[in-house]
Amino acid sequence: MTPALALDAIDKSFDGFRALDQARFVANAGEIHALLGENGAGKSTLMNVACGLYTPDSGTMRLFGAPTRLSGPRDAAAHGIGMVHQHFKLVRPFSILENVLLSRPPAAGDGAPYSRQARSVAQAIAAKAELLGAKVDPRARVDSLSIAEQQRVEVIKALVAGARILILDEPTAVLTDQEAERLLQTLRRLARDGATIVLVTHKLADVKRFADTVTIMRGGKTVAELDPSQASIEELTRLTVGDALPALPNEQPHFGRRRLEALDLTVRRADGAPAVDRVSFFVRAGEIYGLAGVSGNGQSELAELLMGVRTPDSGLIQFEDSGEAFSAPRPAALRSDGAAFIPADRYRFALAGALSVTDNFAIAGLRRGRYGGWAWTNIGRMRAETKEAIRAFDVQGVRSLAQKAALLSGGNAQKLVIAREFSDAPGVVVAQSPSRGLDARATAAVHARLKAAADRGAAVLLVSDDLDEVLKLSNRVGVMASGRLAAEFEQPFDRQEVGRAMVTHG
């Protein structure tokens, strides 16, 4: 059988850094083909080559046996290749319909009046949505949709453009258990109908359950291609990581006073409906408090309230250490009281992508006056401490301290954020989906850092859509449903019971 997509001996360097080194990838029609690897292994780069975003330095690409050179994503779409990126390529203020229209490759009927084109595209959207087992309103604005719904729009966009090869970059990273399950079932169905599905992922469980074939990459090279049903989890892990994962120390926690307390926090959406509805809880010293919930039930709004980037309509955030209670907290005030934040939307709230690694790390210390007063900054010390932190927190891919933060891979960018946020032994930590999109090793490192902060006496609030993560790390768990704190659980947790609370109150 001729493979649907075959990439052979692909090389790609960025400014001297070799991201792909003779990489190879072959996928057949009708299969779900997982591409497995750590952050920075080259998975996304290779798939960006396949979807026409990057031109390889050398190597060949064949589509259904025919040698192909892609001049860009539009050309790739015309060849039937569609990609759903980890960071969605959607115009947020546009409607679903407008986004699909915008990305559609040139087709017959392009000269028709806009209203007729819009109607035919709306029909195509409805047809593809039905194929996915979902209902969508083509006139809904993208920024009014949840992450899972936005992802669905990306898939529909690719299908309307005529994709026969669908590449999804870490699609389950942003979804809840149930949403991920549904997505993977849908992809199964598409594959059965003859599509080629490429699943870029680091979740071994997804690979085992859903992939027909898995290609494993490490350090820009393809290291294995095998049938996941024939391989053990341990074997897949070894091939992916190369060596063993760091294990979490297991210590008995002891809790102190309440360091962070939320009192009747309420915030409304633009339409007046409460997104967070009179939520109260507390986090004690040494405790990790997990907030779980199906995404879109107010957790992200609550996390933003606690990080000071959203102002509550009513309610208070109380810091016991300083005795301060905030009704309209600003990040500067919260940080001065010893709070540290790990937001989910990294490039909106945590890292200035256009600035250097040094600036992004040192800004916290600079604010505290660590590098001198207002008039003069000790740049040498900033650089030295950044260098030290990069080493201590194992941030990889930093080739120069002047390198832009935007060029770090997801896991390494997150490590840089954590290095900065933990540089001053914070008393309160708010972490929002801290391991989203990270590979196993980076996730383990992030979890270890959160545990260590709690062991040091910090109050850690963990807001996450990943129930496994919440149950694994937390000492207590709260469940959000429809903006309310629906239930709280003490250890030992019953996964079924927590899961039920997430859906029954909604």
Partner: protein, 365 residues
């Protein structure tokens, strides 16, 4: 993000046997590369301009003579360049600082007017002894310009009024206030609508023969701002506000106080430019002393990429161009529009060079 595409590349399949130009985002841009690209762009712009001038009838052999020898080696012309450079550098710095905090200050002319008004008020009031009069005028100009800039800054921060519109429109208000003064209480005894001539102690003196004190003020301001932007805490904060206001806010940068005070600084710098023009060129407050500096300031700020050191260099180059242009008009009958064309060509070359500093081009087989 590292997105790259290749516009203009031949369609797939048609490129066999040929290389293909690909474009990549650079991981980091060194200062040397930045300066080199800027210098290269200006050189290319000047070359294109030279060709245009030759086509317009200026003998090629005279070009170097006019541009370099006559402008920079003739003491009278050189002095004219320096006198012209001081306010241009100052308005360039004013624009660069405001742009650094994402405040699009198009109100430079209005702030210049208030600088001139503040200085003239001190002059007319004979405030303080003669020996400190210039310093008093300088301070009054800064305060007046900062106060005028505070209006759009407060409107933006408190009521979210778009500063592009408010600063632009406030220029007309400032100009009407100026005319109101010059046709009213400040009208000269000779009946003309300009203020009384400044006394000798109110004119900015030459520091060295041929070098006006205005240039010293501009150079000192540029040097101070180089240190502020590169080494002070406020400079780092400005970088964050410039890169991403939402990130800056979330990291605890005092965004609003920073924006407000930087806009006041920008207004004060423009006002000093107004004071320098009034005191070293006109010798009094006139109706039109500020005209044209608003656009020049924005242009210099843009060409300098909001960098104060580059703004100083570009300001001097711009002054050279202005004086050389005046000579070309006088001696070769080259129209004023040709001088504007040269400016436009240089601006376009510099704007285009940015693409090459941010991206790397290379041929892929």
């Amino acid at each position: 993000m590292a997105e790259a595409s290749s516009p203009g590349a031949p369609p797939a399949g048609a490129s066999r046997g040929f290389g293909r130009l690909t474009i990549e985002v650079r991981r980091s841009v060194s200062p040397q590369l930045r300066i080199g690209a800027l210098a290269g762009a200006i050189a290319i712009g000047l070359t294109i301009s030279a060709i245009a001038l030759v086509l317009a009838g200026v003998p090629a052999s005279d070009l170097a003579q006019e541009f370099i020898v006559a402008t920079l080696f003739d003491p009278t012309n050189l002095k004219a360049v320096f006198v012209q450079a001081a306010p241009l550098v100052l308005v360039g710095l004013s624009a660069a600082m405001a742009f650094r905090v994402r405040f699009w200050n198009l109100g430079i002319e209005g702030q210049m007017i208030f600088g001139g008004v503040g200085a003239t008020a001190v002059s007319l009031a004979h405030a303080g002894p003669d020996s400190t009069r210039l310093v008093a005028m300088f301070v009054a100009a800064m305060l007046a310009g900062a106060a005028w800039a505070a209006i759009p800054a407060a409107l933006k921060l408190l009521m979210n009024v778009n500063e592009i519109i408010s600063t632009l429109l406030l220029n007309y208000v400032a100009s009407d206030i100026l005319l109101h003064l010059l046709y009213g209480v400040w009208k000269d005894q000779d009946g003309f609508p300009h203020s009384l001539k400044y006394s000798a102690s109110e004119l900015i003196p030459d520091i060295l023969p041929g070098a006006n004190g205005g240039l010293v003020i501009a150079a000192a301001a540029a040097a101070l701002l180089v240190v502020v932007t590169a080494r002070s805490r406020a400079g780092v904060y400005m970088r964050f506000v410039s890169a991403s206001p939402s990130v800056a806010e979330a990291l605890g940068v005092p965004v609003r106080p920073l924006v407000f005070s930087t806009v006041l600084l920008s207004g004060a710098l423009a006002a000093v430019a107004g004071f320098v023009v009034a005191s070293s060129q006109e010798g009094r407050l006139t109706q039109s002393f500020y005209q044209g500096y608003g656009v020049s300031g924005v242009l210099i700020g843009f060409l300098a990429r909001n960098n104060p050191f580059a703004a100083a260099i570009v300001g001097v180059l711009m002054a050279t161009l202005v004086i050389a242009g005046q000579n070309l008009q006088v001696f070769y009958g080259i129209p004023q529009s040709m001088v504007q064309l040269i400016q436009a060509v240089i601006v376009m070359c510099v704007a285009a060079s940015d693409f090459l500093t941010v991206h790397r081009l290379h041929w892929a087989r």
